[in-house]
Structure formats: C-alpha cells, structure tokens
C-alpha cells in the first residue's frame, strides 16, 4: 500500500497537540476570519462562527490524537470542510429541512469529510452509551481518563482500596464496551 505523506503544514497539528501559543495565535489570526465569513454569509452570527470554529478544532484535535493520523493536505483544506459540515448540520437542525450553503472555496475533500462524519457519529454513540452507566461508573471511567492514580480514585469514590477500585473500573469499562457493541448502529459504523 502506498505510504501517505505528511503535508508540510503538519506543524499546525503538532502545535495544537503541544498547545503551542505561537501556532494557536497563527491558526486564529489566519483562519478564523475565513470561517467567520463562511458562517456570517450563511445566516449565522459571530457567536455561531466562534462555536463552529471551536467545534471544528475539537474534531481535528481528536483526530490528531490517533497515532495513525497524518495531515495530507494544507491545514485550511482540512479545516474548512469540517466547519462547513458542522455549520450545515446546525442550520439543518434549526430549519428542520435540507439546507445548502453559499461556498466561496472551491474545494471539498470528500474522503476527509466522510471520516469526520463517521467519527462524529461514532463518538456520539459512545457518549450516549456512557450516559446509560450509573453515576459511580461514569465517575470512575472519567477519573481514569484524567490519569488519576487508582489510590486517589479509591479515596475519592470511597472504595476500600486500590484493588477494589481497579476491579470496579474494569467492570464499568467492560459494561460500556458491551453496550456499545450491542448497539446495531455500531456494527454499521465500523
């Protein structure tokens, strides 16, 4: 299989992951005005534009956390269709009908947008299943995600010791994965 080549603008992705203020400022100054233009030209306000820009960056950040992620196009070509998709979704939700939006960029990376859509749907499913867990299960999973030590978690949630907390976490995670796998939508998504 042909090896994907990282685009020279991958430094934006590295900067996001490292929370580099220099890159942060550049992304904001260079790209936000364009996204604001996209949204405000299409029935949105500045607050909408800010939300869209932020949500798109969250999507990109989460994608970039995966070790196999490689940016293969200019950063803006990746950011723009995601913003467009997010805004289109919000508009459709507002109007409850199909919406098309005025587009002044002549490119849409269909492959990228498709993976973003799938990923967003999949993540929504995980969150939905997570919400079905009991409060204590949600708490322990979140604390482990936050890289808290098991001893600390045991103290916080009132378990007798580290071992009990560890077992509890295992059970909760197992339950979450079971809920995800049992959902018919999951098999269609993978």
């Amino acid at each position: 299989m042909e090896q994907k080549k990282a685009h020279k603008e991958s430094f934006y992705i590295e900067g996001m992951l490292k929370d580099d203020p220099f890159i942060g400022r550049e992304i904001y100054d260079k790209f936000y005005p364009k996204i604001e233009r996209l949204v405000t030209l299409n029935s949105g306000g500045k607050t909408d534009a800010r939300d869209v820009f932020q949500d798109a960056l969250v999507v990109i950040y989460k994608k970039a956390l995966k070790p196999d992620f490689i940016l293969t196009c200019p950063f803006y070509n990746f950011l723009y269709p995601i913003c467009k998709y997010i805004w289109l979704k919000k508009l459709t939700k507002k109007s409850r009908s199909e919406v098309t939006i005025q587009d002044d960029a002549g490119f849409i990376d269909e492959a990228n947008i498709e993976t973003v859509i799938h990923e967003t749907e999949r993540h929504r499913l995980y969150r939905e299943k997570f919400a079905q867990l009991g409060e204590k299960c949600q708490a322990i999973i979140n604390l482990v995600f936050e890289k808290k030590k098991m001893r600390e978690i045991a103290e916080l949630l009132g378990y007798n010791n580290e071992k009990t907390a560890k077992q509890q976490h295992y059970k909760c995670k197992q339950k979450l994965i079971k809920l995800v796998r049992e959902d018919v939508r999951f098999s269609e998504m993978i």
Partner: protein, 258 residues
C-alpha cells in the same frame, strides 16, 4: 489471555505506562492478533470521544483569543460611537496631509521601510515599571535610590539613571539591574545591555520575561534579527508569560518576518 488482564494491559498501553519487554511483547501481540488490535482501537476511540473540549488546553487558548477579540470589538464599538464625528474630521485631515506628503516625497512613502531601531522604538511599549517589578514596598535606602533611578529613566536621563542605579550593589536588587540594562539599551550601549539582561535571565526568574523582551529589542536594534526572533519565539512558547506579553512578542515577530 484473561479478560481482566487484557483490559489492564490495554489501559496501560494507551496511557504509555508499558515499557521494556512488556511493551515489546504487547506490540508483537498487536501485530499478530487483529481482534486485540480492534479492541485497543475501540478503547482509544472511546477515550478520545469522552475528552471534553473544556479539558483541551489548546481549545481554551482559542477561547481566550475569542474573548480578547470580543472585548476589543466591544471597546471599539463604545468608543467608536462617541468618536465617530471627530474621527471623520481627523480622517479627512490625514487624507489631505497624505496627498500633500505624497506630492513631495513620491511613492516610497506608501511603503515605508522601518529600520530595526524604528521598529523596536514603535513596539517596545513602556519602560520597566518599578511597581510592577517589585512586590514589596521597601522603606530602606535601596528603595529611595531605586525610585530616583527610575524617575531619571522616565525622564529619559539614562546616564543619570545608570549612576543612581549602580549605587545599589549588584545581586541585591534585580529591578535595579533591569533599569540599568534598559538605560544602556536606550543609549545604544548594546553589549553592556545584553550582558545585564542575560544575567537577569539566569539569576532572577521573577523578571525573566521582562528581561527577555528587552533583550529581544536590543538584538533587533543591533540588527541581529535571528537572535531577536529566537528570543521572541521563546516568549510565545513560555507558559508562564502573560498573554499580553505573548501577544506583543507575536506581533513583533510578524512585523519582523514581513
């Protein structure tokens, strides 16, 4: 593999806690076992999905930029309404002046090339402020001399400021050193200024960011753009520096790299 142990290994692998032989073995297993690979991917995917945007530092940074811009727009809007008539008159006067100047000096005036020294003068901002540098009110002899020195700095009497501030023994008062460095820089005694700023950066972390900023300007005035850019980039990357200072550094970087 026992289910519970498998979960534990996956968790440890994803959080980077596996190392040495254990890591090698696990990676080998991942290459051979597609089910295990899928399981790891699912765990990772769930972990990423659960990540709240509020917990992503980069997203918080972007929110701060939004907030800054919002405040700026708000201020511009409020002051803009009051000043709009006056601004029109000023704009008209400026336009007339520009036409006259153009007639005299030709099109070079349209794109003035600022010298590094001019760029520094335009962007350096205020001189070091004594109250911002010192967290305690002294009441000793050093404080009186410091105040005199900074008053002279404020008036632009740099030689006099240096004379006063040098009365304070080196190593006892970092702000005096900063004042001396600043005065040397303004007098064009760049090597002395650089030596003092570097000393402060090494020995007085509480005012390192201010020393960094003036050091960058000293290099700029010397025409050493690469050294200046290096210091400015460090400021933009330093998480302990105020946002205002980071923005100043960022804006200056942009002007230099134009």
């Amino acid at each position: 593999m026992k289910e519970e142990l498998k979960y534990e290994l996956i968790e440890r692998y994803l959080s980077g806690d596996l190392s040495g032989q254990e890591l090698t073995d696990f990676k080998q297993q991942l290459d051979q076992d597609t089910d295990l690979k899928a399981e790891v991917e699912l765990h990772r995917d769930i972990e990423i999905a659960m990540l709240d945007k509020e917990k992503i530092p980069f997203i918080n940074r972007i929110n701060n930029y939004h907030e800054e811009q919002f405040q700026q727009e708000k201020t511009e809007k409020t002051t803009g309404n009051k000043k709009i008539a006056r601004r029109r008159i000023i704009s008209f006067a400026v336009a007339i002046a520009a036409v006259l100047l153009l007639a005299f000096f030709g099109k070079n005036l349209l794109v003035p090339d600022l010298s590094p020294a001019q760029l520094s003068e335009n962007t350096i901002g205020s001189m070091p402020s004594l109250s911002a540098l010192r967290s305690t009110d002294g009441g000793n002899i050093n404080d009186e001399i410091l105040e005199k020195g900074f008053n002279e700095l404020d008036k632009g009497n740099y030689s006099q400021a240096i004379t006063y501030l040098q009365e304070i023994p080196a190593g006892t008062e970092a702000s005096a050193q900063l004042g001396i460095g600043y005065a040397y820089m303004q007098e064009g005694n760049y090597e002395q200024a650089i030596s003092i700023f570097n000393n402060i950066r090494k020995n007085s972390p509480e005012i390192k960011d201010t020393a960094d900023w003036y050091l960058a300007h000293t290099y700029l005035r010397q025409g050493k753009k690469a050294d200046c850019v290096k210091i400015l980039k460090n400021i933009t990357l330093d998480k302990t520096v105020t946002q205002k200072r980071q923005k100043q550094a960022f804006d200056l970087l942009k002007s230099i790299e134009k």
